[in-house]
Amino acid sequence: MLDFNILFPSVLNGITTGAVYALIALGLTLIYGVLHIINFAHGASLMVALYGVYMLKQHFGVDPYMALPIMVPTMFVLGYALQRGVINRASHGKDENILLVTLGISIVLENLALLFFKSDTRTIETAYTLTTVEIGPAFIALPKLVSFAGALVVSAVMLLIVQKTDLGRAIRAVSKEKQGARLMGIDVDHVYAMCFGLGLASLGAAACFLMPAYYVNPQVGNGFVLVAFTIVVLGGMGSFAGALLGGLLIGVVESLGGLLLGESLGQVGIFVIFIVVLLLRPQGFFGAKA
């Protein structure tokens, strides 16, 4: 049961899934690191993006990977609008309000999806959905490999944006010292909205990578939200490196957990880790103090 031929594919699968998890967690990290808000709407937003990819394929025949240039900007705009138009206005600056507003958004999104798409689980079929690639004793689905690569690329792009561009500089300034940044002439509201937009844009990309190998229904958001939070907390709130490594780790844990305990109980492992980390080391392994 524990021999290499069984473990290796499981681990490999976990890594490929983990890369996408990492991408999802990166967006959350960016949002938390800068806005210091826990975006409860992150999972629901991913779900919306997944439906977007689904619709593009079903109704317009657009291949998920080709949908990247559509999904990413669309999600960016959605994120910008949500932050600027709803979250910012509703929160009155108080953290507890932001918590409730993002929860409200997630409820609305999830149930609008339920309304329009019913609760059926949907998948898409592409030419390469069933193609596998042989790596050692493992047969990894081609879409998963592509998503692995894609997730890494997009993560790298996001990191570059934050480190090398003017926007990135502004983001870093605002996250460290909001008032000071404001005094320097940075439009903090705009930066916040850009951040949120980037966070959701990364979800747009993640959805394109996920959809070929995965599925969508109105509830998928919930599962992803907690997994994403687990990663972010594990890696350390606000740490990109932590989110990346955490994502890979969680992917592997989920895969091995599913192998050893069965699909559903395997998921429990993740939440238990989440609770334990939250209780014992909320700053994660790479993060600054919580």
Binding site: A90, D95, L99, V101, L112, L114, L226, F271, I275, L279
Partner: protein
């Protein structure tokens, strides 16, 4: 004092309803409205008075529900014994989660996340474990009688729930007029300041969690008696958690009547929506979500707060840099 007088009035008026109408629709409405009230009242104890927002309150609901079912079906207990037992179990879960969370100083978003995680864990466990009926759930055998807490008509259920709601009202009123309540609200408003003047935040928050959990467990037990069925999704799913918190927030957190105002308003809204749009899946929750956002945006003190904040104050708004979790 005034609060208790009002509570007595409330009990008399609502309790008399079954004597004034035989309409099944009306009675059903009163019963389900009271049920919604209890959910929000339970959440209000910890969320409104204690300032600790739980996003996974279904955890306690589901515990109560399953205990109520299992105690009857597997331990052969009378439902009237099972009910307090369910409350105790739910309260115990509250003690566990509260102790763990507050021992490690979890607050704000972190606490909300942890409660969500616990609810999810319980949901998954309930799906996998045989004695909860796994994914299929448990069905309470039908045996109508008052002794079996399965009332032939809604009146019995109304009075039962009225009793529980009254219990919640009394507890809430006690929070408003006791040292414990003062300490709890002090911790909510400023934990450090409270510590400096002799309040032990850990024990205060823990007790609030226990009370809140117990009341929520009662609601879960009630659900099982009325609908004679429970499964992991109903027990630990987000729907109940959301209903509890939105009702309390919409009505006014930290007040005596706020949760009832909010719960009933939402209930009416849901009914109206159902009449207008039919049984569309998810439409209820969409409304709850929108209402939540709107209330937080424009009326953060909830409906009950309408009297306490003047339009001028509202326009000036509350601009403050909130604390980090």
């Amino acid at each position: 004092m005034k609060d208790f007088r009002n509570i007595v009035l409330f009990v008399l008026i609502v309790g008399a309803v079954p004597f004034f109408t035989q309409s099944g629709v009306m009675l059903n409405f009163v019963m389900t409205a009271l049920y919604a009230c209890l959910l929000s009242q339970a959440w209000n104890v910890l969320g409104g008075f204690g300032g600790q927002f739980s996003f996974g309150h279904a955890l306690f609901f589901g515990t109560g529900a399953y205990v109520q079912a299992i105690a009857q079906m597997q331990w052969g207990l009378s439902p009237w014994v099972a009910l307090p037992l369910a409350m105790v179990f739910a309260a115990a879960v509250g003690a566990f989660v509260g102790a763990a969370s507050f021992r490690y100083g979890l607050k704000g978003s972190y606490f909300a996340l942890v409660t969500l995680a616990f609810a999810e864990v319980f949901r998954i466990l309930a799906t996998s474990v045989p004695f909860t009926g796994a994914g299929v759930g448990l069905m309470l055998p039908l045996k109508e009688s008052a002794a079996n807490m399965q009332f032939g008509n809604r009146a019995g259920f109304i009075w039962l729930m009225l009793g529980l709601v009254t219990l919640a009202l009394c507890i809430t009123a006690w929070l408003r007029h006791s040292r414990f309540g003062a300490y709890l609200q002090a911790v909510r408003d400023n934990e450090d300041a409270a510590r400096a003047i002799g309040v032990n935040p850990f024990s205060v928050k823990l007790i609030a969690t226990v009370l809140s959990g117990g009341l929520m467990g009662a609601a879960g037990a009630f659900y099982v008696q009325v609908f004679q069925y429970i499964d992991p999704g109903i027990a630990f799913g987000a729907h109940t958690s959301v209903e509890a918190l939105v009702g309390a927030i919409v009505g006014g957190m930290g007040t005596l009547w706020g949760p009832l105002l909010g719960a009933v308003s939402l209930h009416i809204l849901a009914d109206v929506t159902r009449n207008l749009f039919g049984q569309l899946p998810g439409i209820n929750m969409v409304i709850y979500g929108v209402v939540l956002i709107v209330i937080v945006m424009f009326l953060p003190r909830g409906i009950a707060g309408l009297g306490t904040i003047t339009p001028l104050q509202w326009l000036r708004g509350q601009k403050s840099d909130g604390d980090k979790p």
